[in-house]
């Protein structure tokens, strides 16, 4: 595949980088990423991946765009209100970069569909805002041996980690199981600074780009936290005891996907 002059110009700043170059840009164009959630995290992640020329981007979300989303979900605009988020996201990405093929999937992820959804993609981004989905994505990615980026944001805080099969702990190794229903506020109840999605979602896009191009070290086996009030990033090395995790351990006890119940307010 030879680059057109337009592509050389579009991707010039990638191609110039020694770490990416022509080969890396081709890897991006041949790569595929599934973004689950077209919200605060998924919006910036999707836009940076589209701009970077990731050739195939899938985006999954069941919701429609609401005015209260626009405070942080920068892939959507006023004209998109009441439109399915995945359609609005697809339109924005395709306007940004015609090289990108966007698969818009308007659905809730569940134990029924998740394995089929993630199967065609090289890398998965968890941009969801609730624990049941986060554990479902983790378990499905572990079972299907798919690398994925976990992230969460609330108020002025964010965290992320990357799971790469065979390279360290999964999300469940660290967080075990969802907290009791209503024990932890969702970002709808607790609030979140819009830019938090930009910070953490962009880091997720960076992990996807690094995974696809093979550049640098991923956040595998490490948890990064960001506290915007203190303006501090911290990276914690995560222990990995392969004997104990019920999903990625040597003797897994979770061998089927679980649909945990969502807190009532998340169902809308």
């Amino acid at each position: 595949m030879a680059f057109s002059n337009e592509q050389l110009e579009r991707y010039a700043r990638h191609i110039i980088l020694k770490e990416i170059g022509v080969k890396g840009q081709k890897k991006l164009l041949n790569g595929s990423v599934l973004i689950i959630g077209a919200g605060g995290l998924g919006a910036p992640a999707a836009m940076y991946l589209a701009a970077a020329g990731v050739g195939t981007i899938g985006i999954v979300d069941a919701d429609v765009v609401d005015l209260s989303n626009l405070q942080r979900q920068i892939i959507h605009a006023m004209k998109d209100i009441d439109k399915p988020k995945v359609i609005s996201a697809k339109e924005t990405m395709e306007e940004m970069n015609p090289d990108v093929k966007v698969n818009a999937i308007q659905a809730f992820v569940s134990s029924e569909n998740i394995l089929e959804l993630i199967e065609p993609y090289d890398f998965i981004i968890d941009g969801t805002d609730n624990f049941p989905a986060k554990f479902l994505i983790n378990d499905a990615c572990v079972m299907a041996k798919k690398p994925f980026s976990h992230a969460g944001i609330i108020r002025f805080k964010g965290q992320l980690m990357t799971y790469v099969p065979g390279q360290g702990p999964c999300y469940r190794c660290v967080f075990h199981e969802p907290p009791p229903k209503n024990a932890v506020p969702t970002c709808k109840e607790a609030g979140v600074v819009g830019a938090m999605g930009g910070v953490i979602g962009s880091l997720q896009a960076m992990e996807a780009i690094k995974y696809l191009t093979g550049v640098g070290d991923l956040l595998a086996g490490r948890l990064m936290t960001y506290d915007a009030i203190k303006m501090e990033f911290r990276t914690i090395k995560l222990p990995h005891d392969t004997s104990t995790c019920p999903v990625c351990g040597e003797n897994p006890t979770i061998t089927e996907l679980i649909d945990y119940e969502q807190a009532a307010c998340e169902l809308k």
Partner: protein
């Protein structure tokens, strides 16, 4: 008299930074290690930057030849894939 044989030539006189070096990188990509690329470039910014960028990428700059018409030929040997 030349102690090298040019395997490929790329003309970057029709583009400006950063596409100048982008075209060089694409041309180098097509070559095997050990092959030699001639890069025809304008005086000024390309002459200042392209040889340095080639070196930073780990390639060997053999010669910079003035063509006498405001253009230069930079001769680069590909050392790194």
């Amino acid at each position: 008299m030349a102690d090298y044989i040019v395997d490929e030539t790329v003309d970057i006189t029709d583009v400006v930074c950063p596409i100048t070096f982008v075209k060089v990188k694409v041309a180098l990509e097509e070559l095997d290690v050990g092959q030699i690329l001639r890069i025809r470039m304008n005086d000024g910014e390309p002459v200042q930057n392209v040889p340095r960028s080639c070196k930073e990428e780990g390639q060997q700059v053999l010669k910079l030849l003035c063509n006498g018409d405001g253009t230069y030929d930079l001769i680069v040997k590909k050392l790194e894939d």
